[in-house]
């Protein structure tokens, strides 16, 4: 059993941060790696990339958005409650190196995935520009933590309630124009955001890493559910990834496969909401 020792609701309760006791995983995990979690015996195996670890205390930090039954079930877990299973660390760690100047771009909960990679790049002596964004000020997460690991932090909101009004791609483009010597971009967030970022970095010919989140089952290469097309070849995100060269990823195919179970997910989530009594604040 994997106990939750700290729990925080972010972005008006739509995003949850948990520090979970998993000493073996915390001791081994590297930036870019993920864990698979299962809340209970009937639960799904849900992959989440770690936002942080504390090896000394034996804790890992996961940050997730509530989007369906499984994440809604995770949200019901309070401090002192446990996940039944946490498996990891899984996936290949980010290849971190000193490039000089780098830019890290994160959107939504992608910022959580971006955070340890940004810190790793900063610790190696890179000059780090970071751009983080959300739809609105209330939905932005991890500003302080990203600030602490960046040399310059830029903030974008779609509605202009905080920082630059517009998408993260605006600031990405602006920064790449200003600093021609940026040698690496790391862009993590929703698929449309990553695709748009890659389109920008392609223009500037800047190598770009993205972290993909396809549907997974076992997470160890056994099932092939998480297959993605990269440079025309089939790759398994769980063993070959989750990070890939963004300029080579087939985002259309990824997007399509992420929609595999939309009707089932809706059915499951609706049934769960009914069973819980509808208590969330979404207004529906």
């Amino acid at each position: 059993m994997f106990e939750i020792v700290e729990r925080q609701e972010l972005a008006q309760g739509t995003i949850i941060s948990n520090w979970v006791r998993a000493p073996k995983i915390a001791a081994k995990a590297k930036p870019g790696q993920f864990v698979i979690l299962r809340a209970n015996e009937t639960g799904e195996r849900i992959p989440l990339t770690m936002a942080d670890t504390d090896p000394e205390k034996g804790l890992i930090n996961i940050i997730y958005m509530v989007v369906g039954k499984s994440t809604a079930l995770f949200k019901t877990l309070q401090v002192g409650d446990s996940f039944l299973d946490v498996i990891g660390p899984l996936g290949a760690a980010t290849h971190l190196e000193k490039v000089g100047k780098v830019i890290c771009v994160g959107g939504g909960t992608g910022i959580a995935v971006l955070h340890p990679i940004t810190r790793g790049l900063k610790n190696l002596g890179n000059y780090v520009y970071s751009v983080i964004g959300a739809r609105s000020k209330d939905l932005l997460i991890m500003e302080d933590r990203m600030k602490a690991v960046s040399d310059e932090l830029m903030i974008c909101t779609d509605d202009g309630t905080y920082g630059h009004k517009g998408f993260v791609t605006d600031k990405l483009k602006e920064t790449l124009e200003k600093h021609k010597d940026i040698g690496l971009a790391v862009c993590i967030g929703p698929v449309p955001m990553m695709r748009a970022c890659c389109n920008v970095t392609k223009e500037f010919n800047v190598k770009t890493l993205v972290s993909l989140n396809p549907i997974m089952v076992d997470g160890t290469g056994m099932c092939g559910c998480c297959r993605v097309r990269v440079d025309g070849k089939m790759k398994f995100a769980c063993v070959d990834g989750p990070e890939f060269d963004g300029h080579l990823v087939d985002f259309d195919e990824l997007n399509l496969r992420l929609r595999s179970y939309l009707p089932e997910e809706k059915l499951s989530y609706d049934a769960f909401k009914t069973s819980q009594g509808h208590t969330c604040t979404c207004g529906k």
């Binding site: 081994k28 039954k69 498996i87 660390p89 559910c225 297959r227 089939m234 063993v239 499951s268």
Partner: protein, 471 residues
């Protein structure tokens, strides 16, 4: 090899039929197909064994179960004696009684079978194990004095469980590391409930636990801990991590929604219990028209699972002919009885789908058999211009797997062959890395449960020698 079998004078007993769920009923449920012998049926079947002085059946058993001895116990109504005999050589009798290909092993060599049908050894093994589980006293086989030696077993499939069962009885401490959240490996994620109920796998694991074997689930050796780290804590390490990465057809359209590897399809259904969705949270596409590609046991399992998930049509599309099907005869018959339709000499060319990504069909080519290939089977050759489309909404690709590099890549000193399988001495299971043994699919490529168990037996003997005598 002359047959001087003295036919028993008494009235000849025919092979006792295994009662089973009727095909039209079972194709709609996940309950086990064979219902099991009653004690009366088992004792009657046991009488058919002529207790050969030089039993051939035993030579056909990869783990050398003393078959005549356990059958004699059943004949005499000593069911506890029967399970004790089985346990001497086999930690997994309830599993092996169900999934071993007896027709090419013990039963294939049975002397009775030369003139009549062979003794139903598999059914009797299943009976003895089930009787013990359901009605038996709480007995365990005797264990040797503790040796203080520690063994790590990586992977809890048939190879790993066999190694653990052997070495715990010999007095060593055994810890099994399993990557998934439940132990059993392919027995739990791969073989369907209707062929091997998961409660039985759990019971076999519980039996090992009662003997003292420790299970650590959610432990992905290679990621969470390396083999070298295990070697610091353990005297010996056995690697039985299974086959690994599923192969795809490498044709256009394999990304469409509804296209699965058999590993994924069966894992969703078996391990994650997607057939009980939404009670269980893991979904699965419940196709109306399902095609499974491949002709092995896993393909049969997939096609039969599709029926139980509500498919109106379940096809097996295979590029060779019926004679070349690698699956067990019994599995093929079960599939046909339940309504699986076979399309032989047919090869897929590309998948077809809607703009929003849902699978709608597969374009196929007719094949004809040409000259024999390296495997000795006649090579299928496409018939030009024979393209046709089969309407399907679900495809299950069941053409085997390649070695999973996750563990082997993180283990310096292991030697791999060109397919990425671990090189191990077939007589001992020793790898090229000191204190590390390997067996099962990670060594041989995808094979059967009992061959993996047999490899486990060979390795456990060698590990015991090493721990006892140092060689």
């Amino acid at each position: 090899m002359t047959e001087e079998v003295k036919a028993p004078k008494k009235e000849k007993i025919p092979r006792q039929k295994m009662p089973e769920q009727p095909a039209e009923v079972r194709r709609h449920n996940f309950d086990e197909v064979p219902l099991g012998y009653t004690p009366e049926l088992a004792m009657k079947e046991a009488e058919r064994c002529i207790q050969c002085k030089d039993p051939r059946c035993r030579q056909g058993c990869p783990v050398e179960v003393d078959i005549p001895a356990f059958i004699k116990c059943i004949k005499e109504g000593d069911f506890e004696g029967a399970i004790r005999k089985l346990w001497e050589k086999n930690a997994l009798p309830a599993v092996c009684g169900r999934v071993c290909p007896q027709e090419v092993q013990c039963e294939g060599l049975c002397i009775v079978g030369k003139k009549d049908e062979p003794v139903a050894i598999g059914n009797l093994e299943k009976f003895a194990a089930d009787y013990q589980r359901l009605h038996g006293r709480d007995v365990l086989p005797p264990k040797a004095e503790p040796t203080g030696k520690k063994v790590a077993v990586v992977g809890s499939g048939p190879a790993g469980l066999t190694v653990a069962g052997d070495l715990i009885l010999k007095g060593h401490e055994v810890t099994i590391f399993e990557a998934l959240h439940a132990p059993g490996g392919v027995l739990i994620y791969g073989i369907p409930e209707f062929r091997l109920p998961k409660a039985i796998v759990a019971a076999e694991c519980r039996y090992l636990e009662r003997l003292g074997v420790k299970f650590e689930v959610n432990a992905v050796i290679g990621r969470s801990e390396t083999v070298d780290e295990l070697l610091e804590r353990f005297d010996a390490v056995f690697l039985g991590v299974g086959a690994g990465l599923p192969l795809f057809l490498n044709i256009p359209g394999e990304h469409y929604i509804g296209v699965y590897s058999s590993n994924e399809y069966l894992t969703r259904s078996n391990l994650m219990k997607a057939y009980e969705f939404p009670k269980y949270d893991t979904p699965i596409v419940r196709g109306k028209k399902v095609a499974t590609f491949g002709g092995g046991n896993v393909a049969m399992d997939s096609a039969r699972t599709a029926l139980r998930l509500g498919a109106e049509k379940s096809y097996i599309i295979y590029r060779r002919g019926r004679e070349e099907l690698p699956a067990r005869k019994e599995e093929i018959h079960h599939a046909e009885d339940e309504g699986v339709e076979f399309m032989f000499l047919t090869a897929p060319v590309r998948f077809l789908g809607t703009d929003d990504g849902f699978l709608t069909g597969v374009e196929c080519l007719r094949m004809e058999l040409g000259e024999p290939d390296a495997s000795g089977r006649r090579r299928p050759v496409p018939v030009p211009g024979s393209e046709f489309v089969v309407d399907i909404d679900t495809a299950v690709i069941s053409i085997g797997s390649s070695a999973n590099p996750l563990l082997t890549k993180s283990t310096p000193g292991l030697v791999l062959n060109k397919w990425g399988n671990i090189v191990a001495d077939p007589k001992t299971g020793k790898t090229m890395k000191p204190r590390v043994w390997a067996g099962g699919d990670i060594v041989t490529g995808a094979a059967t449960v009992i061959l993996a168990a047999g490899a486990g037996r060979i390795a456990s003997n060698s590990i015991h020698d090493f721990l006892t005598y140092g060689w």
